[in-house]
Amino acid sequence: MKEKTLLKNIICISCPAGCSMEALSDGIKILSVSGNQCKKGIKFAEDEIINPIRILTTTVNINSGIVSRLPVRSKTGVPKEKVMQMAAELKKVKAATPVKMGDVILSDILASGIDIISSMSVDK
Amino acid sequence: MNKVKADIVVIGAGITGCAIARQLGKYKSKVLVIEKESDASCGTTKVNSGLVHPGYAGEEGTLRLSIAHKGNLCFRENAPELDIPLKCVGSLLAIFKEEQMKSLEHYMQQGKKYGIAGLEIIPNKNGSLKEVEPNISDNVIAALYCKEHYMTSPYEAATGLYENAKMNSVDFMFSSKVCAINYNKTLKSFFIDTESFDSDLNFRVRHSRIIEADYIINAAGIFADDIAAMIGDDSFKITAIKGQYYLLDNEASELVRRPVLRMPDEDSPRSKGMTVCPTLGKNMLVGSTDEITSKNDFATNKDVLDDVKEKLSQMITGIPYDKIITSFAGLRAVSDNADFIISPSLKNNKFINVAGIQSPGVTCCFIISEMVIDIMKDLNIPLVSDSKFIPHRKRINKFSENTFEDKAKLYNMDNKYGEIVCRCEKVTEAEIIEAVKRGAATLDGIKFRTRAGMGRCQGGYCTMKVMKILSRELGLPFEKITKCGEDSYIAKYKI
């Protein structure tokens, strides 16, 4: 018989509502979730137990005459524990102009399968 | 080791030192001003109400009182040629108890003795005082009205003096703290050592250069006694007395029509008491206080400022404390006998002390400088008039003070007058560049010359823009720009 644990105070970060949820887990998967106001909460609770992910946002150096930094983001969530490492990795990057919002600045960062893309368009 | 030689060295570039420097600029002597801060008027001078007092208040028999009214007249006479802003505002000195009436009468007599016109005691009866000052509280039983009270901007005054001194070949050496003075009896000159803060090493470092001077004028403010001690003169001691103020938003500018002063509770040998005081910049000063403290204590204290609120609320109704922009503290230099010390040192008459210059220091800056010249002439110190002396100096043309048409003219002359850098005070890039040309090298230097950063957002919008301009004009990396010299960095580390 698998051990059931009740996890409390999971704050969903999927939207500004920030529902405070509780989830029942058997250590491998989520059995039930309460406190969520939409489906995103369930997905979030599941991810949070098994593989917590976060959207990484930071800035990188850019070769531009009009801006000093380029804001970038991970296209999708990255493993939470890799966030600081990835931020450090991005310090080595220097983006080139022109760049459009959505352009890949660094693909497959730290072999995670996730691309880092530009949040902004810069002409020169 | 490199040597710098000057005929006369002035120690301290506050209002007193700058006034003396400017006065000395009228002569051919080589003059050097040594200042420990990164700019002029960084000490007591900038934390000041800027009132040019009429001269009725003070203790009988003191030098402070005897020159006060003359100082007022002298300031009014000299300010225009230096384009120092000056406005006749008048004042009210308020009392709360019947026993204080004799003080008002005493001041009235004293004022008349010194030739001050327009003095009148107005009782708070039948609305006569309220007519003159609508927000005066009913706690005030009477007030001494004085017409001859003027208002200037203390740092603009010091800047005017400093710039004109420079125009007349006076040299200024900033970020140089005098740490030793030796008198050479053979050469009959002083040798001055200075030090400054090395921000890379993170401690004070003595300079290798030495300054040689025939005469020294000690205008070192709260440190005047420390400087005098360097030549063995321990005849006076300076006590630092802290004054704390609130600054209210210019939305409060309708609160009072003129400075309203509060009669001190008991006889104070120190400065004037508390005041609700409009400024030329339209913000309102509320304060100050007096606490004896150490010479490096510039902190504001909650209980002291709460006391300011309480006392002044009893004098003026409706002070909008929700409109506070900031609060600050300054240190008055007060001598043992609470009087000005303007005389050659008994240890060495080539060393002239100009110490204990508390209120009315700003008022008397011109007259004190004239007195110093008189002292020097009495001592047969050679002073030859310089026919090339340039008496006039113009302040920076402030975009915000111009009409629409004149603003457009300024723009047509220089399109940087179109770039608004400080949105609260409407300061343009052109003015900031001009301030750099005139000696500003820090954020405070720009602030006190242009008002950028003095408004209600306290630099939130303009700071980085000003830093970029400083960086570009001075050729310094952005991260090396400071608020006020030494290690006061803003954008400390580049990512």
């Binding site: 970060i13 920030g18 405070s20 | 922009i325 952005f478």
Partner: protein, 482 residues
């Protein structure tokens, strides 16, 4: 380059001041609706307002159903702006507003645009907001370098690429403080802690989680900074515990104060709507919001001048700011087309007065002509709360009331029929027309008055509030649900 002097013949139908999300939305909506002659003034060289420095996510969830970063959200509208026929003037600051009977005059200054006098028929103010400073909250102590507001640091880090220090203390647990805690940690700073004067955090709970918990940054509730040390550069702060008592914040006596070393103090202690320009024109300001008094049409006390975005009240979510920008533009368009309901007489038929546990409620004036979307901010958190608009008998239950989250309440026009005094003065046409039949003559005399020099005469709030004296003020409050 041609030197521009005074140009009296610069005329626009609609001038929008501020090119952030509110201004861009307003400009785009007006342009889409067929207004040809639109001017958008922006003081920065870039558009987007505060968004380009908000590199974190959480934007666009409502409008685009996606999680976007601030710059991405801004870029969408910037691209639309580029493809429109809206005349834009970046690097241009508006210096003053002047309202006459026939037009509104805006004086601007710009390095490349010159000093201009622009005549316009309608203005939308989208000026954004600024941050509360150390001086305004009177933290005692010295005044060294190293004390910054959170938005200022955000700009320094994200736009300029510099760090303000390495050992950081953050005062204030509002969202900006929390976001910057994470940001600085990510850039290698030692974020020693976030200190919050209240016993609750004013930021979104998801930010406590993803900014503080994720990075093990401690949060100290009921603590504040009571002294600052350092001569030219900050060296340490003094932290004291606070004792919240029915609205009065007191430092707990007997509790040990302690010093924390730092080289940087970041303040996230409040935002204030920017209204210096509005004040040059005598527009009535609400002391609760810090922004103009408006009705549900975003109409200020000066006819033809509308306000939206953070300049009206501090918003939480950019998507809502965009929608308000659209709405303000719709009102401006109706005004330009001289639709009914825009004479100043209908500006304010009833006042909304904040009562218990209400920090502010917008709009503060209502015309009684349509349904109203109220935006309300509470002072204190409350569970199982009831929001009540007393005089119209409107009540709504709210499970969780948090000061950090604006409450949206939609009240249908029908509710206003409950107002006492209404039937004798007004009849609401229930057939659905927007017209109100007005019995009370003299109401149309209610014209905006200028003082001869052109500045709008400063009117008391009551002047605009008492257009129909028999209609009482409507009090809104939040209380416990019984």
């Amino acid at each position: 380059m041609e030197k521009i002097h005074t140009l009296q013949n610069i005329k626009y139908d609609l001038t929008i001041i501020g090119g952030g999300p509110a201004g861009m939305a307003a400009a785009l909506k007006a342009s889409e609706s067929g207004i040809d002659n639109i001017l958008l003034i922006e003081r920065n060289s870039f558009f987007g307002g505060i968004l380009p420095q908000c590199i974190h996510g959480g934007f666009g969830l409502k409008i685009f159903n996606r999680e976007l970063t601030g710059p991405e959200y801004a870029q969408i509208y910037i691209d639309k702006l580029r493809n429109s026929r809206i005349k834009v003037m970046p690097e241009t600051s508006a210096l003053s507003l002047f309202k006459d009977d026939d037009f509104i005059e805006v004086i601007t200054a710009g390095k490349n645009t010159g000093i201009l006098k622009i005549k316009t028929k309608a203005v939308i103010l989208a000026l954004g907001c600024r941050e509360k400073t150390r001086g305004q909250i009177s933290i005692p102590g010295t005044r060294p370098a190293g004390i910054f507001t959170a938005g200022f640091v955000q700009k320094m880090v994200n736009i300029e690429g510099y760090l303000p220090g390495k050992d950081v203390i953050i005062l204030g647990s509002g969202d900006i403080g929390l976001i910057m805690a994470r940001r600085l940690k990510l850039e290698g700073c030692n974020v020693k802690g976030v200190y919050e004067i209240m016993p609750f955090s004013t930021g979104l709970s998801r930010n406590i989680s993803q900014c503080l918990k994720d990075f093990e940054i401690p949060l100290f509730l009921s603590h504040t900074v009571t002294n600052i040390y350092g001569e030219k550069r900050i060296e340490a702060v003094e932290i004291s515990e606070t004792d919240w008592q029915a609205g009065r914040r007191e430092v707990k006596s007997g509790f040990k104060k302690y010093k924390v070393k730092c080289d940087c103090l970041i303040l996230s202690v409040g935002l204030i709507p920017e209204n210096e320009l509005s004040k040059t024109c005598g527009i009535d300001i609400d002391n609760n919001t810090g922004g103009p008094l408006v009705n549900e049409y975003f109409q200020t006390s000066a006819e033809g001048i509308f306000a939206c975005g953070n300049s009206l009240f501090v918003n939480d979510i950019a998507d809502n700011v965009t929608e308000d920008g659209f709405s303000a533009a719709a009102s401006a368009i109706d005004f330009l087309n001289k639709k009914d309901g825009f004479s100043i007489s209908s500006y304010s038929r009833a006042n909304i007065v904040p009562g218990e546990n209400i920090a502010y409620c917008v709009p503060q004036k209502i015309s009684l002509l349509k349904d109203v979307n109220f935006k309300i901010r509470a002072r204190f958190p409350l569970k199982n709360a009831l929001i009540e608009f007393e005089q119209i008998n409107f009540r709504q239950k709210i499970k969780y009331v948090m000061p950090g989250e604006l409450i949206n309440i939609k009240i249908s026009r029908d509710y206003f029929k409950n107002l006492p005094g209404l039937s004798s003065d007004l009849q609401i046409n229930t057939a659905g027309s927007n017209n109100l039949k007005i019995n009370n003559s003299g109401a149309s005399d209610f014209k905006i008055q200028t003082d001869g020099r052109g500045a709008v005469k400063k009117q008391n709030n009551t002047e605009f509030g008492k257009s129909f004296s028999k209609i009482p003020d409507i009090t809104v409050r939040i209380k416990e649900s019984t």
